[in-house]
């Protein structure tokens, strides 16, 4: 549906995007995830028409998008700051885009009422933006963007301005709305939990390029680049060379992993904290001493200092743990839980 091919953009010496290609499907909830300054917002601004790429093409359902002026594109953007018009009421803000389409007054009213109801703000229609809470403003911004029934809806850090509790609510609501209206959503975020919980597929950006495009579970279970392994979720990363049993570390010996790489390839082994077992004293592949135990309610984090490795190994266990600081433990994991990434 949306096809981005070879898009690059430089600002002076800074390369914001280099040769980015993505294909986004009809009706998909797609996330662009990355640290700030990775180019994801630049890509969003290119799609909205506020920025032009130096190279590359973008087509929407086969039509060239870059040739169209920003105000003619069938693409709507929900701004990070919401950018609501302060001098207009909620209803006027939402009606603004429809009035540009020269629709009849009755139809504009009908559609505004309908969308305000959909986001639960029908009683707020007469208020000005400054009279609303953050969550309500966010919903007005969303209503204003979806009321035009765009083919593509772009969301720039849609939930970042909200506090944690409202954010969780709005995440559910966004997802419900996307199902209801069936519009293709492209959301930009630096918050991986947000991307994971919302998106059907995620493109991880780093330094202007796409590292990996995958469904959330796949991305978490099988990171394909060192950056993704380090950026998405917590990971214990070991350096070494690939071998048939996994990874041969220089000081740690053979670590189990699911190796598909030719023997001897320089590689990283990533193991999720929740996949590591604390086996007691003698079983397991690594031995170490517990240096810290933190209880988070549902889970506990245990940091284990392993000789031959500078950073402690992080282990996550369900609920409270019996292990105490200073005790000796052995760490182990199943071969399938060690993910090998070529370096």
């Amino acid at each position: 549906m949306l096809k981005i091919t070879g898009v690059s953009r430089r600002f002076g010496d800074v390369t914001a995007l280099s040769d980015v290609s993505l294909e986004i499907r009809q009706g998909e909830f797609f996330a662009l995830l990355g640290p700030s300054g990775c180019g994801k917002t630049t890509l969003l601004r290119i799609l909205a028409g506020f920025e032009s790429p130096d190279e590359g093409t973008v087509t929407l359902d086969g039509d060239d998008l870059l040739g169209q002026a920003a105000h003619r594109r069938p693409v709507n953007l929900m701004f990070q700051s919401y950018a609501l018009f302060p001098h207009m009421t909620v209803a006027k803000n939402v009606a603004y885009g429809l009035e540009r389409e020269r629709l009849g007054r009755a139809e504009v009213r009908g559609r505004v009422d309908e969308v305000l109801q959909k986001v639960g703000l029908e009683t707020m229609a007469g208020r000005r933006p400054h009279q609303l809470s953050g969550g309500q403003r966010q919903r007005v911004a969303l209503a204003r963007a979806i009321v035009k029934r765009p083919r593509l809806l772009l969301l720039d850090e849609p939930l970042s301005a909200l506090d944690k509790k409202v954010r969780a609510e709005m995440q559910l609501e966004l997802k419900r709305l996307q199902n209801e209206v069936g519009i293709t959503f492209v959301v930009v975020t630096h918050d991986q939990e947000e991307a994971m919980s919302l998106a059907d597929r995620i493109a991880v950006f780093n330094a202007g390029g796409v590292e990996q495009v995958d469904a959330p579970v796949e991305l978490y279970e099988h990171p394909r680049t060192p950056f993704v392994a380090g950026f998405v979720g917590a990971n214990n990363i070991f350096e070494g060379r690939a071998c048939s049993a996994g990874l041969a570390g220089e000081e740690l010996g053979i670590l189990p992993g699911d190796s598909g790489l030719p023997d001897g390839t320089p590689a990283l082994l990533a193991v999720r904290p929740e996949r590591i077992r604390l086996d007691g004293e003698d079983k397991g592949v690594l031995g170490g001493e517990v240096v810290d135990v933190s209880f988070y309610g549902g889970i506990s984090h245990v940091s284990v200092q392993v000789s031959g490795r500078r950073q402690p190994v992080l282990v996550a266990t369900q609920g409270a743990t019996q292990v105490q600081t200073g005790s000796k433990v052995a760490l182990g994991w199943a071969e399938g839980d060690g993910v090998l990434i070529p370096q």
Binding site: H71, L77, F79, Y96
Partner: protein, 293 residues
């Protein structure tokens, strides 16, 4: 118990007294200035309006309403309306020139913004009279404009560029344009550029975006700028005197003439009061609409 409340009260009252003293120290100079140089002269001026003129200037303390009836004499009313017209035209031109200027300055990179703003206020560093005389030199019969046009062969004899209403408006716009640009710049600079992007994103072209978003949100700046240009233009007498050929075209000249030539202080005061009244009405209108915006 009683003792402690008693001493607490006296501590409080002492604190209150010293706060009042502190206020007086800070407010004193400004208040004195306002009372001596503004309120007392204004009170004198208002009181003059109800007395008769003295034969050689000054006041004869006999009550009369004659000054106010004279105000509605078509001759004087015409001057007041003519001044309103010239000031309004000057304000409108200053707005039409000043808005794009302010808009462009607001889009410049930070470093250039500062330079542009300094350039806008630069004329104020030169004496006002000198700058007005410069216009006489530019526009006079053998002046720079006429001689250039003649050298280019566009005209055969010098145009009469000086001493008409157009020259007055030119002088007013030239003198007060910076006062239009600065408040407009402040208002436009404050505007979130994302609002314009949001408008475009929702399908509005540049003209629609300007009319529906940019202009309404900068309206307070527009009103302030208009007031800053209109007020000194309306009561001006130097520019019409020098560029308008010295005839009593504007109310400022008329007032000046009443005091210095006709020696009719009461009527001069009445005209001045009328001018102040018009300006107060405008200020109130501006304050009211700024609060609504």
């Amino acid at each position: 118990m009683t003792r402690s409340t008693g001493s607490g009260a006296s501590v409080r009252s002492r604190a209150r007294r010293s706060r009042a003293l502190g206020r007086l120290v800070f407010l004193g100079p400004g208040l004195t200035y306002l009372i001596v140089l503004l309120l007392i002269p204004l009170a004198l001026l208002i009181s003059f309006t109800v007395f008769r003129r003295g034969r050689f200037g000054g006041i004869v303390y006999e009550l009369t309403a004659e000054n106010f009836t004279r105000l509605f004499d078509p001759l004087y009313l015409g001057v007041v309306i003519g001044s309103l017209r010239l000031a309004a035209i000057a304000t409108l031109i200053a707005l039409l020139v000043g808005y794009p200027t302010a808009y462009l300055i607001a889009q410049l990179p930070q470093k250039w913004k500062t330079i542009a703003l300094v350039a806008i206020v630069l004329p104020f560093w030169t004496n006002f009279l000198v700058r007005i005389y410069a216009w006489i030199i530019l526009l006079s019969g053998p002046g720079l404009v006429n001689s250039t046009l003649m050298d280019l062969g566009l005209i055969d004899k010098p145009l009469e560029l000086l001493y008409n209403q157009g020259t007055i408006v030119t002088g007013l716009v030239y003198s007060y344009l910076p006062l239009m640009v600065l408040p407009l710049y402040a208002a436009i600079e404050k505007l979130d550029p994302q609002l314009r992007e949001a408008s475009a994103n929702l399908g509005a072209g540049p003209v629609r975006t300007f009319a529906s978003v940019t202009l309404p949100l900068t309206l307070p700046g527009v009103l302030t700028g208009c007031l800053f240009v209109f007020v000194p233009s309306f009561g001006n007498f130097i520019i019409p005197e020098l560029l308008g050929g010295g005839r009593s075209i504007m109310v400022g000249n008329l007032i000046r003439d009443q005091f210095l030539k006709s020696r009719d202080w009461p009527f001069g005061s009445t005209l001045a009061l009328a001018l102040i009244a018009v300006l107060i009405v405008l200020l109130l209108a501006q304050a009211w609409s700024a609060r609504r915006a």
